[in-house]
């Protein structure tokens, strides 16, 4: 699993870490019962406050995405690759798209139509 932060993203860092782990779970790059990096290693790698990493891990634990083995570390919970996590991930993508649409004065219908149109165009280009 690779965790990286987007410097342009102004959401709190612990939220970004939670999202990165969620993405890794859904994509399968973090499998069931596999360890997450230690708080210290991730803090050093990302140059973030270790408390922020701890906060993210506590949040992940509270949501059931990971579990803690005392004295050993934090591990991915089994059965997290499916429905609910995918839906939360999709919600996040939708939220960002809606935010961008609003900013540009577009309605939801216009956005959805544009996405469908764009997708169709792209797949026909790819098939050529």
């Amino acid at each position: 699993m690779l965790i990286s932060l987007d410097p342009q993203d102004t959401r709190p860092i612990y939220v970004q870490i939670v999202d990165e782990v969620r993405r890794a779970l859904v994509l399968g790059t973090l499998g069931a019962d596999q360890p997450l990096p230690s708080v210290r290693d991730l803090a050093v790698q990302l140059r973030v406050n270790p408390n922020t990493v701890s906060q993210a891990y506590r949040d992940l634990e509270r949501q059931g995405m990971v579990y803690v083995r005392r004295g050993q570390g934090t591990y991915a919970s089994p059965g997290q690759q499916g429905g609910p996590e995918r839906r939360i991930l999709a919600d996040g993508v939708a939220d960002r798209a809606l935010h961008d649409a609003r900013r540009n004065g577009l309605s939801v219908d216009e956005l959805v139509a544009a996405i469908r149109n764009h997708d169709t165009q792209r797949s026909s280009e790819e098939s050529q």
């Binding site: 708080v39 803090a43 140059r47 973030v48 406050n49 935010h99």
Partner: protein
């Protein structure tokens, strides 16, 4: 109604507390009634332009500067009356690392420093020296600003103090060493319970480490709060307004910045998001975008409001 910017951090044990610090150098006011609260374990970022009083504040804690009024405490100890005990608990990286010792070799200076601190960790000092690529046989006096800064960082960290005072810790470092330094600080925090007070012009560099912020300008404290409060309370609103709009409604918050064009207004407001949106909408505006600010943008807005 205006919501004032928070100037007090409440709750929990405090590592550092100052009350009404006031200092004049001649007719210049360096500090004007500065009352800080730094929670135990915080990474507290002190920001402000040159001459705002950041370095002076840190020096007061070390009893290197004595104020005309006010008191300062570090872990409950008065910084003036108990100065030696206070200093024993502090690791300090000065802004200008040019105090004496120019004739000493780096290696000898580190050994010399170790004698003063019972908690000096020899192995850790060696690891830091390696990371910072220190050359033990060089004389302090011939080191560049960045090299001297790395020696000071080593000296500040190696005795694992309860409080770190870092005055522009990355100033003079090349980008690679700056990045390395931030990693060393993150590593140190994971290892040793430490409170950090850090002053810097490069807010974007330490954005991910800081969890509290204090904003100084002209020697006075403009605002002080946790990152969580800052993230929750400060937003930029981009609003489409009708032509011939009569003007800003009374917002339920403190407007820090305003940029206006014919049909669009951009506000940076400290206040409850729902309240602010409601007021803007009620006045006929269409809120197009509400975004949180990066720490750098937040700092600029707090330092330099144009409303």
């Amino acid at each position: 109604m205006r919501t004032a910017l928070p100037k007090r951090i409440d709750g929990g044990n405090l590592a550092v507390e100052t009350r009404g610090l006031t200092k004049r150098f001649g007719d210049q006011v360096a500090l004007n009634d500065v009352s800080l609260q730094v929670p135990d374990g915080a990474v507290y970022l002190l920001v402000g332009p040159n001459g705002a009083g950041k370095s002076t504040t840190l020096k007061v804690l070390l009893d290197l500067v004595r104020t005309d009024q006010g008191t300062a405490e570090v872990f409950g100890l008065n910084c003036r009356d108990r100065a030696p005990e206070v200093r024993a608990n502090i690791g300090y990286v000065p802004e200008r690392p040019d105090w004496g010792y120019g004739w000493m070799h780096v290696g000898r200076l580190l050994k010399h420093q170790a004698l003063y601190y019972p908690t000096w960790d020899v192995d850790y000092a060696a690891r830091l020296a390696q990371k910072f690529e220190l050359r033990m046989d060089r004389k302090m006096g011939v080191l560049s600003k960045g090299q001297a800064r790395r020696v000071h960082l080593t000296m500040a960290l190696a005795h694992r103090p309860s409080l770190l005072l870092l005055d522009e810790p990355t100033d003079g470092l090349d980008p690679l060493m700056r990045d390395e330094t931030l990693g060393v600080i993150a590593d140190h925090l994971a290892d040793s319970p430490t409170t950090v007070m850090l002053s810097t012009h490069h807010v974007e560099e330490v954005e991910r480490l800081a969890d509290h912020i204090g904003v100084l300008r002209n020697g006075a404290l403009r605002a002080q709060m946790s990152r969580a409060d800052l993230d929750a309370g400060l937003r930029r609103y981009r609003v489409e307004v009708p032509e011939q709009w009569p003007g800003a409604p009374s917002l339920n918050g403190a407007v820090l910045r305003r940029v206006t064009s014919a049909r669009e207004v951009q506000w940076t407001v400290w206040g409850e998001e729902a309240d602010v949106i409601q007021k803007l909408t009620a006045a006929g505006g269409t809120v197009r975008e509400v975004v949180p600010l990066s720490l750098l943008d937040a700092t600029l807005a707090l330092l330099n409001p144009n409303d």
